[in-house]
Every structure is written in C-alpha cells, then in structure tokens.
C-alpha cells in the first residue's frame, strides 16, 4: 500500500525539487524587473525558502529509497510536447547516484547561500547573485534527477548559462566579460556533443531514457548501439563532459572563471559544475565502456589533464588560480577512474573533492587576509617561493617542464591564435570582400540609372565649382 502511494506521489514530489528554486529565481527577479526595490532580507528569505524546500523534498525521496520502500526507478511526470512519434516525456530518475549528487548539491547551495549573505552584503549585484544561484540550483536538481538525457540537457544548459553570468558578475571590469564569454564558448561548443548523442539515440532507438539494468545500483543509459554508432555516441558524450569539466585541451577557461565572486567560484568550479562531466559519464557508463577506444581515450585525457593541472598549478602566483588547477587535476583523476570502471570510487572522489575544494576556495580571501596579518606580526615578508628541492617540485627544474607550466601548456595560445584567431580573420576577410563587391554592384546600377547619371554629373559639377 505504502510503496504504491509513494510511487503515485513521487512524480509530483520530484517535480517540486527543481520547481522551488525556479520559483525563488522568479520571485527575486520579477519585482526588480518592474522597478520595485527589494531588501536583502527579502531576497535571502526567498532563496532560503526555495533551497530548504527543495532539500526537504530531496531528503524525503532519499529517505524513501534508503528505507527500502522503493527501488531505483524512473517516474514520468507527463508529456511536454509531442508531434507524431516524437514526444518529449518529462521523466525523473530516482536512484542512489542522482539523490546523492542532488542532495549534496542542494546542501552546498544552502551553505554557499548562507555564506554569501554576509560576504556580498551591500554588494551592487547581491540580488542578481542570488537569482543566478537559484537558476544554478534548479539546473543541478534537473541534472541530478533527470530520467533521460533530454531532461539532463535542460539542467545542463541552465547550469552553463548561470555559470557564465556569474563569471561576468563584476561587470565594471573588462576581464570578467572576456572570461565569461570564453567559458560560454567552451560550454556551447562542447554541448554540441551532448545534443548529437541525444539526437542519435532518439533517431535510432526512439528515446534517450535512463533505465536500471538488472539489479544495478543506479540508473543509466543502456548500451543499445553497436559499431560506429556506438563510438559516435560514446565520443560525443565524452566531448560534452570534457568541456564542462575543463579537461585538456579545454581547461583554459577554468582559472579564468575564478573572476566571479568567491562563493560562486567555490560552488561552481570547486564543487558542483565542474563535476557534471563525470556525473554525465557515470550515468552513461555503458556507453563509455562500449568500446575500449572510448575508455582508453577517457583514461588518456583524464591523466593528461591531471598531469597538466598538477604542473601548471605549481607555478601560479595567486591562490584562486592555484586552486582552480587543483580542481583540474582532481577532475582529471576522476575521469581516469571512470575510464577504468571504478564508478563508486569516482562518486566518492567527486563528493570528497567537492566538499574539500569548496572549503578551500571559500577560505581563500580570508587566508590572504590572515597571511597579511601574520606578516605584520612577524615584521617581515613570508616567502612565497616554490621549494624546488622538495618532492615532485624537482620536475620544475627541467626547463621544458617549467616552460610548459608557466605557459599553461601553450593550450590557450594554441586555441586563441591558431584556431579561433585564424577562423575569425578568414571570416572577416570574407565579410570585407562581400561589402566590396556588393558596394560596387550597387554603385554600378545606380550609375546606370538616368537619375543616377544626372546625380553623378551634378556631384561632379559641384566638385569642380
């Protein structure tokens, strides 16, 4: 009786988890859109209600699952739209992976919301920050509880947009604007992979839903494709995960993303957003292991990223960049773990790393403050120099390695100058050529017209006189 009742109501309960942050987002933003000034207390109250409400429902779902009253399952919450055989079904997945990641996400969002109340007190963009935080929370809840890749994509996009807008939070400086654009370009370019994977699954198998294979602990994308199609889907998913999680060669945006306010850096690039790539791959682990090529590529990319992050992080001169490269290293290792099939280890690594890194990033501004105090008390400067004789730092004495670390592997220069720069120059050349030929054509036609000839003669006379 009770399991039946829970199954019947779970679709409505699970819908509330992303809906409450969306409502909080609207409640923060709409009054300001119509010119009504709201207080910080109002905004914080709305946000706290939204996050705590969503956490409560998430907790309820987790409790049901833990108490053994329900098995991991996909619950349908209706149909968004349908044309012929193509329908967008609203499906949510209730399993250990989604509830663990979603519950942890909401906990982190709540902590960061509480921290930011004082950290951003009287900051010009206080309300904007909280509105975007709610959009982010809704996106994360959707990704965590998605019952299909279609639903996951919606949350994935919301996370990307809120992340971009928070990088550009301090909008008076040009730096955040450029860095936000860079992050968004990377996100969108790599999202193409996710979209292609979804479309391939729909066209070939009719849906992109998660299912529970056998008695597996969590839901996942079943392996249905074979051959080239399987490779295409697997590599597309991997490409999407690489962009979101700043893997080599797309890792350049992550340290730049630290331009945003510290709480958002902590939650996005230390804790949650950067781990969405591994989360996607955990959901679709059967696609990753469909071919040794995909698994091998994932291990290669993960280890290369970890090495790159470890080397580059050691020569950074500011603490946030150092922490950003620390995140890159750890996420690289998590990717390699997924490639090796160590899924539970990867999930524990995600949660452990997210918690620890968030604490480090939130502590970073006050750490600098404390250090200045320490230096004042000691009366002398505390050295920041790297001890090149200790442990793995010896690698940095090799000129090539040191140069690689200092230039961040040359990846930024490669992408900016050799790929994007060349493409944009070529396009601008084409654009200029178009303006030239169309101008000549139009002038030739105008000159051929009787009034045009007369106007030309008049202009000539005026010029002579």
């Amino acid at each position: 009786m009770l399991p039946e009742l829970l199954r019947a109501t779970s679709a409505h309960v699970v819908l509330l988890v992303p809906a409450l942050p969306v409502l909080a987002f609207a409640a923060v933003l709409l009054p300001r859109l119509f010119g009504r000034a709201t207080s910080e207390a109002y905004t914080y109250g709305v946000v706290a209600t939204g996050v705590l409400g969503a956490s409560l429902f998430m907790g309820l779902l987790a409790a049901v699952l833990l108490a053994g009253l329900g098995a991991p399952s996909v619950v349908g919450a209706g149909r968004w739209f349908a044309v012929g055989h193509d329908a967008f079904e609203v499906r949510f997945g209730l399993d250990a992976l989604g509830l663990a990641y979603g519950g942890f996400s909401l906990l982190m969002v709540a902590l960061v919301a509480a921290f930011s109340r004082r950290y951003l007190h009287r900051e010009q963009g206080f309300h904007r920050f909280y509105a975007l935080l709610m959009l982010f929370a809704a996106g994360l809840a959707l990704v965590s509880l998605a019952g299909s890749l279609d639903m996951l994509l919606i949350g994935w996009e919301l996370v990307g947009i809120s992340s971009t807008l928070l990088i550009a939070f301090f909008n008076q400086r040009p730096g955040p604007v450029r860095n936000a654009l860079r992050a968004f370009v990377t996100y969108r370019a790599c999202d193409v992979g996710l979209v292609i994977a979804i479309v391939c699954l729909h066209v070939n198998f009719g849906d992109a839903d998660f299912v529970r294979p056998g008695n597996a602990a969590w839901l996942g994308m079943p392996q249905r494709a074979a051959g080239a199609l399987s490779l295409l889907i697997g590599f597309s998913l991997m490409f999407a995960a690489m962009g979101k999680s700043a893997q080599v060669p797309f890792s350049g945006w992550l340290p730049r993303a630290m331009e945003g306010p510290t709480p958002s850096s902590a939650i996005f690039y230390g804790a949650l957003s950067v781990h969405l790539g591994p989360f996607l791959l955990l959901r679709c682990h059967e696609q990753v292991h469909a071919s040794p090529l995909i698994g091998g590529a994932l291990i290669g990319v993960g280890l290369a990223t970890a090495l790159h992050g470890a080397l580059v992080g050691r020569v950074q001169t500011d603490i946030k960049s150092m922490l950003a490269y620390g995140s890159v290293t750890q996420v690289g290792l998590i990717m390699a773990e997924i490639g090796l099939g160590l899924h539970l280890v990867a999930l524990l690594h995600i949660i452990g790393h997210a918690g620890y890194r968030t604490l480090q990033i939130l502590r970073a501004p006050s750490l600098l403050h404390d250090r200045h105090h320490l230096e004042q008390m000691l009366g002398h400067h505390v050295s920041h120099a790297i001890d090149l004789d200790s442990g793995s730092n010896r690698w940095l004495t090799l000129p090539r390695v040191y140069r690689h670390a200092l230039e961040r592997g040359g990846l930024d220069a490669l992408l900016t100058d050799r790929v994007i720069g060349v493409l944009l120059d070529a396009l601008r050349g084409l654009d200029a050529a178009e303006q030239r030929w169309s101008g000549r054509l139009a002038r030739a036609v105008l000159a051929a017209l009787p009034r045009g000839r007369r106007a030309g003669r008049n202009e000539e006379k005026a010029h002579v006189s």
Partner: protein, 420 residues
C-alpha cells in the same frame, strides 16, 4: 470562411494604420494611431483563430498544420508588428517610417493566403517597395535599396514568372528563396539593410521573411526541396559563422536572424513531420524573440544616440538594467534557452530532420551553438563593462509592458498555452 473574413478585416486594419500614421499631426500621435490599428488587426485575426482552433494543443497538430500554421504566422506577424510599433523610438522614426512598417506587417499577414504560388514570390515586393521609400532618405540607403530590389526583388519577379509559365521553376524559386533568406553569398542586401534601416523597420522585414518562408513550401517544386534544404543548412552555418566575426552589433543581429531563418527553411523542406512542425516553431521564435532583441537593440541605440560596436564592452547595464535583462532573456529564448519556445523549436527540428539528413542536421546543431555564442557576446559587450555617464531612462512603462508581453508569449507558446 469566418477566419478568412477576420483575416481580411485584420489586413484592412493594418493598411488603415499605415494611412493614419501618415495623416497624424505628429510622430507620437502617428505611433499611437498605427499601434491601435495593428492591435485591432491582431485581435481580429486572433479571434478568428481561436474560434476555429481544434481542441488539441498547438504542439500536437500535424494534420491541421498547413491551415493552422498559416494563421498562426499571420497572427504572430501582426502581433509582432504591434510590438515593433510600440517599441519605435518616436524621435528616430518619421511618420512615413511607421506607415512603411504597417505596410510590411500587412503584407506579411497576407502572404500565407496568396491564391497562387507565383503570388507568394511577387507579393513581398509590396513590402520591399515601401521599404525602398524609407531607404532613399537614409545615408547609404540608395545602395541598400538597389541591392534589395535586385536580389530578393528581381529574383522574386523571375521566380514568379517561372512559376507562372512553368519553366525552370525549381531553380528560379530556389534561387529566389536563398536570396530572400540572405544565404551567403546572396546576403549582401540583408546586412546593408540592417545597417541603414531603422531597426524597427528591419524587424518588419524579418516578419515578412518569416511569413513568406511559411508559404514557400507551396512554391518550390518537389525535386528541388532536398537540395534546397541542404543549401539552407550550409547557409545557417555560414551566417552563424559570419555573425561571430562581426564587429558591428546591427550586422551581428542580422546574421543571427538570417541563420535562424535558414534553419527554419531547412526544417520546412525536410521530410520529417516533427521537423516541419519545428520549422513553424522556429519561425514563431524568430517573429517573437529574435525581432524582440532586434527591437531592444534599437531601443538601446536610441538611448545612446549611436550605432554600437562589439569591439569593447559598453557598460550599459549600470544605466539600463531592465533593458539588459530583457535583451538577455529574449536573446536566450531566440538561442534556444531550455523551457522556452526556442528550445521546443530546435528540439523538434533536430529530432525530425536527423533521420533523413544527418550531415545538414549536424550543421544546424553547430549553427545553433554559434548563434548562442554570438548572442552572449552581444549581451556581454553591449551591457557589461565599465559604465559611462549614468543615464536614467531605463525601459519606460510602455516599453516594459510590451517587452514583458513578448517574453511571456515566448514562454507561453513553448507550453502550448497560446493559442489552445
């Protein structure tokens, strides 16, 4: 019968609006009169549509689609015309410009009901001729007018003649449609028009293009449809790439809209049922959200008094946060923000078209991503950055009401609430 009568009433109202705006004593009065006339036209067509709308939601209507989509596009065209008029900065648009906008919108509403295929090619000339009158007065406008009359204008006449006489109609209609949708390298007229025309009139041209495209399936013969859909997929990608390279905000806007129209064209000529419905939704997105952000760019220019470049951040957020937020929302809807009309449109197009044409659909996916990048670049460069002198005139109540209505409709259409 009844909806067609209401449509006739609607188009007549729009033409009366054009007349009233010319006869009005000043620009503000002209804007009010024309807006009221177009609003009456929209209401007439909307009532006709609602009375004959089947029970089911708009999102599940393939069998009735040709009937419905033509009327929905006419309704949306007139509604967007009201928005374009209401957002017209009175100081920067003459009474004649307002009249031209009414003519463009009336033509757009009339095109889906053209009695013969050749008329679909020729009817837009009415709108183009009216736009030419506005162009003649603008600096550099004569060159743009010539390109407008040569590329979509003359090619339209040729296509109309070919359809009328039944000779080489596929080639002629395809060429005309590529020019009309500003497919590279036939896009010169479009970018110049965007640079020279007041942006509200440019929005009128976009509405007309969308309306013509909805009717173009009847114009292009069957054998020419598949090659045309391939060419339009390449055009979508080409325009999206060009948009990314632009340094001028107006040209970037024009490229984005041209790319989206090409996506709509690609979908309309696809074989998949979902793709065809998706094409109509792309057109609705263009007519609501894309024209919306074009109009808000015009509102921003009117406040700054100059054309805007994308070379450095302009820092307009500090002065006009509401304008910035509205621009962002409409831009993201247009780029396919989840849970909006743009998302529904792109989702349907991809699902419907991929099975029959994997490569062009992939190009469409890439063009969508590139358009979103340009959209975000425009928002960041126009609104973020160091603020200059603070200026108080954020969106006025009239502008806010219209923009909010536009945003709500972009979300409401996505959930099948309107009409249905």
């Amino acid at each position: 019968m009844y909806p067609d009568l209401m449509l006739t009433v609607g188009i007549t109202c729009a033409m009366v609006g054009a007349l009233l705006s010319v006869l009005a004593p000043d620009r503000v009065m002209a804007r009010r009169a024309a807006t009221a006339a177009l609003a009456a036209a929209t209401l007439a067509v909307g009532v006709g549509l609602l009375l004959h709308l089947p029970e089911r939601s708009m999102l599940a209507l393939p069998p009735e689609l040709p009937w419905l989509s033509a009327r929905v596009i006419a309704f949306a065209a007139l509604g967007s015309g009201v928005v374009a008029l209401a957002l017209s900065p009175a100081l920067r648009m003459s009474r004649y410009d307002l009249a031209v906008l009414c003519v463009l919108v009336a033509t757009a509403a009339a095109v889906p009901f053209a009695a013969a295929p050749w008329l679909v090619c020729v009817l837009p000339l009415v709108g183009f001729a009216a736009a030419t009158a506005s162009l003649a007065a603008a600096p550099g406008g004569r060159e743009a007018a010539v390109l407008l009359l040569i590329l979509p204008g003359l090619l339209g006449v040729l296509a109309g003649a070919a359809l009328g006489f039944g000779t080489a109609s596929g080639l002629a209609a395809g060429g005309w449609l590529l020019a009309l949708l500003a497919a590279p390298p036939l896009h010169a007229w479009y970018l110049r028009l965007a640079q020279v025309l007041p942006l509200n009139l440019f929005a009128g041209i976009v509405i007309l293009q969308a309306s013509v495209l909805e009717s173009a399936v009847a114009v292009v013969p069957e054998p020419a449809r598949k090659p045309l859909s391939w060419l339009l997929a390449f055009a979508a990608l080409g325009n999206a790439l060009l948009a990314l390279a632009q340094r001028d905000a107006r040209r970037a806007c024009a490229c984005i809209v041209a790319s989206q129209l090409a996506v709509a064209g690609f979908a309309e000529f696809s074989t998949g049922e979902a793709a065809v419905v998706g094409g109509t939704f792309v057109l609705l997105t263009v007519v609501t959200a894309s024209t919306g952000f074009v109009l808000l760019l015009g509102a921003l220019e009117a406040r700054l008094g100059a054309a805007l470049s994308l070379v450095r951040p302009h820092g307009c957020y500090a002065s006009w946060p509401r304008l910035a937020n509205a621009f962002l929302v409409l831009g993201l809807v247009s780029a396919g923000l989840p849970l909006t009309l743009g998302y529904v449109a792109s989702d349907l197009v991809l699902r419907g078209a991929f099975a029959g044409a994997a490569v062009p659909t992939t190009l469409v996916v890439v063009s969508g991503a590139l358009n979103a990048m340009t959209m975000m670049k425009m928002y960041l460069y126009l609104f973020q950055g160091a603020a200059g002198r603070a200026q108080p005139s954020d969106l006025r109540p009239r502008e806010l009401a219209v923009t909010f209505g536009l945003m709500v409709s972009a979300f409401a259409f996505a959930f099948g609430l309107l009409p249905g």
